[in-house]
């Protein structure tokens, strides 16, 4: 928790602790969500800056993720489509580029990333966020708090998110392989 008001030193210490504890999670969450690590770091940093201004956090992790979600939403209003499109373009370009440079390892990864992103984009916003937060270790209570959902609905939300993600991904993969069986003995 961020310390008592008026004691700036304590607040700093607390934020430092928050940062150490949650920055990796938060940045990975945001990176997965946004597709750009620079952007993710920027948002994460802003989250911690805001934590500094807080007097008291009752559920710090849920709070951090909630603020991150809000920040992204605010910014996303501005230029989300452009950014997302850009990310896809970049991944495709990279894949293209690297296929020419016969670097299938990176190619594979770039394709993998593009495919994962496409699949993720097919989820509803709420499902997507719930899943990404769960992947960062948030429990059902925290996810419920961060998304303003009821605790009881998280299981269903996650079940739906996972199923859709996997199905979307598999569909993309089938399309990619043109129906060929994926295994290669």
């Amino acid at each position: 928790m961020v310390g008592a008001s008026g004691n700036h030193g304590d607040a700093l210490n607390d934020v430092e602790r928050l940062f150490r504890t949650y920055n990796v999670q938060l940045v990975r969450y945001l990176t997965r969500r946004l597709g750009d690590r620079d952007w993710a770091e920027e948002v994460a940093q802003e989250v911690f800056v805001r934590a500094l201004r807080q007097d008291h956090l009752t559920n710090e992790r849920a709070w951090l993720f909630t603020v991150a979600n809000n920040l992204v939403r605010d910014e996303a209003r501005k230029d989300s489509r452009r950014r997302r499109h850009l990310v896809l373009l970049r991944e495709e370009a990279k894949a293209d580029e690297e296929s020419r440079e016969t670097e299938p390892s990176s190619l594979e990864r770039a394709q993998e990333a593009a495919k994962a992103r496409r699949a993720l984009e097919m989820l509803g916003e709420r499902d997507r966020l719930a899943l990404l937060m769960r992947e960062e270790g948030l429990d059902y209570h925290e996810i419920a708090e961060a998304l303003g959902l009821s605790f009881g609905s998280i299981g269903t939300t996650l079940a739906r998110a996972r199923r859709r993600l996997v199905e979307a991904w598999e569909a993309l993969q089938r399309a990619e392989h043109g129906g060929e069986h994926a295994s290669s003995g």
Binding site: T31, D36, L89, S106, G137, T156, L158, R162, Q173
Partner: protein, 539 residues
């Protein structure tokens, strides 16, 4: 009780149900094949979704085009590619420079979580899940011991199997490491930051020579990623509940092998690239060294407790700092931790296939700390079945089975299992894998019954011939072969749901008295768990 709905199953697997609810679910799953199937599917979805999302972590921060001045060689190769991505892309990317620049200002002093290994952490996560790291089995990992079928209910023992070096691909991993400099570099962190606010991720560099060493370590990290014990993610730590430790047999799947080879090709070219870039790199490294914030280094050597020889391919890591490295052929490793950890104590761990893991707590005073490990080998270790999960945690699928297993009367842990001790029927489950179909990850465990008599054979054949389980479907396209004197190789396709073998010890029938491991080839990465089962199950 009504049939379970999907949400409840996921909540159960996620450990989100109360003890009472969990018990109810558990009881229901036990008696309801339909719901048991749903659980298996849900596990597949949980693991599959995690795995898919992992693919997102490879995204470089390369939206910003690299400036000419960016002094990082390893990074440059990728950025140049980005640069050549076309004018439209460049222009679009340029728009983002401004937005991102703000993030750079206070970046120095940021914990080096983006270092190569740290960024590998998610990948290592996957290894965790895929290889079903049993000591930290989290809810999303395919839990190897979930067995809602009848076969496993009479299990009495759990046997650790560790994997032979050959199976783990360690030799090729090390040869790969040397040439993997470029791929070893982390997925392109922000180029601008390279201009001086932070050190190059992944390279704990003080000199060119050290750079090479560090790169080699990173090479392991990216090339052999399925085999890495991960800096555990928070969730897995929180959810530790699995009753036994299992020898890791993370086997590089064919994909990983291919990737590794390709990495060789893609590396800045043994033939031409390295020489010409050497000077540049040295210069860049020198710059980076000047610019990087202070960090703490942990160095050490891992040796074989019996022989004193250095052991390569051992994972050394500080879980809490998400820092990990793999020892070189002389057993040396080097970990870098952010200076922010100065004064705190961390647990440095070393673990590797075929050795009992060790950990040591040290207090970081800054500068370079030294920790050495002497590891004892543990080929096939028997362990008693101990359920360590708390009551609440027992909800987990793994525990359903554990509870049913008869009390074990095993040999003492750490001992080799040999000869007649191997006689009988064994269920072999593969703790995790990396299937092409994401959801197949939940189809585990795969059961095998193994007979040590196999070890006396040198042959290859369709796996079907070795099948004994009457209720098991055919496994076309699958093969087994006896590999190195002490390993059985099984190859099968991803769709194989289960395999069973009956292996009976015949006196004198063993070429080797040690079953050191089972190598699984094909598109699998798995931990191997052996459990003794009632002989009747083998018929």
């Amino acid at each position: 009780m009504h049939h379970l709905d999907e949400g409840t199953i996921h909540a159960w697997l996620d450990g989100a149900l109360s003890a009472e609810e969990s018990r109810a679910v558990e009881a229901h799953v036990t008696g309801c094949a339909e719901c048991a199937a749903l659980v298996v599917e849900a596990r597949g979805l949980v693991a599959g979704a995690s795995r898919i999302l992992l693919g997102l972590d490879d995204i470089p921060a390369g939206v910003i085009p690299a400036g000419r001045a960016t002094p990082v060689t390893a990074r440059r190769s990728r950025q140049r590619r980005w640069w050549t991505g076309g004018p439209a892309l460049r222009a679009a990317a340029a728009m983002l420079v401004i937005a991102s620049a703000g993030a750079l200002i206070s970046r120095s002093g940021v914990p080096d979580f983006l270092s190569g290994e740290a960024m590998r952490a998610p990948a290592a996560d996957v290894a965790e899940m895929d290889s079903a790291d049993m000591d930290a089995a989290d809810a999303t990992a395919p839990v190897p011991s979930l067995d809602v079928s009848a076969e496993a209910r009479t299990e009495t023992d759990i046997v650790e199997i560790t994997q032979s070096v050959e199976a783990s691909g360690a030799p090729s991993a090390s040869s790969r490491g040397a040439t993997m400099q470029a791929p070893a570099a982390p997925p392109t962190p922000s180029p601008v930051e390279g201009a001086g606010t932070r050190g190059v991720a992944g390279a704990g560099v003080g000199s060119v020579a050290e750079t090479e060493a560090a790169a080699k370590v990173s090479g392991y990290a990216s090339g052999a990623e399925p085999a890495l014990p991960p800096p555990a993610p928070q969730r897995t730590l929180a959810d530790i509940s699995v009753p036994f430790v299992v020898g890791r047999a993370a086997i590089r799947d064919s994909m990983a092998t291919v990737r590794g080879q390709q990495s060789n090709i893609a590396a800045p070219a043994p033939a031409m690239g390295v020489e010409s870039r050497g000077g540049l790199r040295a210069e860049a490294d020198a710059q980076m060294e000047r610019a990087r914030p202070a960090e703490i280094v942990i160095e050490g050597q891992v040796t074989n407790a019996e022989t004193g020889a250095g052991i390569g391919g051992i994972q050394a890591y500080v879980q809490s700092a998400a820092s990990s490295a793999v020892t070189d052929s002389s057993g040396r490793f080097r970990l870098t931790l952010p200076d922010t950890l100065r004064g705190s104590s961390v647990l440095v761990s070393a673990r590797g296939i075929g050795y009992a893991a060790r950990a040591e707590e040290i207090t970081l005073h800054g500068g370079t700390a030294r920790v050495d490990f002497a590891l004892s080998s543990s080929a096939v270790a028997l362990q008693s079945l101990v359920v360590t999960g708390t009551a609440e945690r027992r909800a987990r699928a793994a525990d359903v089975m554990s509870e049913r297993a008869a009390p074990a009367a095993p040999a003492e842990p750490g001992r080799f299992l040999s000869g007649a001790e191997l006689e009988g029927c064994w269920a072999v489950s593969l703790g995790g894998w990396r299937p092409s179909r994401a959801r197949d990850a939940g189809a585990l465990p795969t059961h095998l019954w193994l007979a040590p008599t196999l070890l006396d054979m040198t042959a290859e054949g369709p796996l079907n011939e070795l099948r004994r389980g009457a209720d098991l479907p055919g496994v076309p396209g699958s093969h087994w072969r006896i590999g190195a004197p002490d390993s059985v190789h099984l190859t099968w396709r991803e769709s194989t749901p289960a395999i069973s073998l009956r292996l009976i010890h015949r006196p004198g029938g063993l070429r080797s008295t040690e079953l050191r491991g089972i190598a699984v080839q094909g598109e699998l990465t798995a931990d191997v768990v052996l459990r003794r089962v009632d002989a009747a199950r083998c018929e």
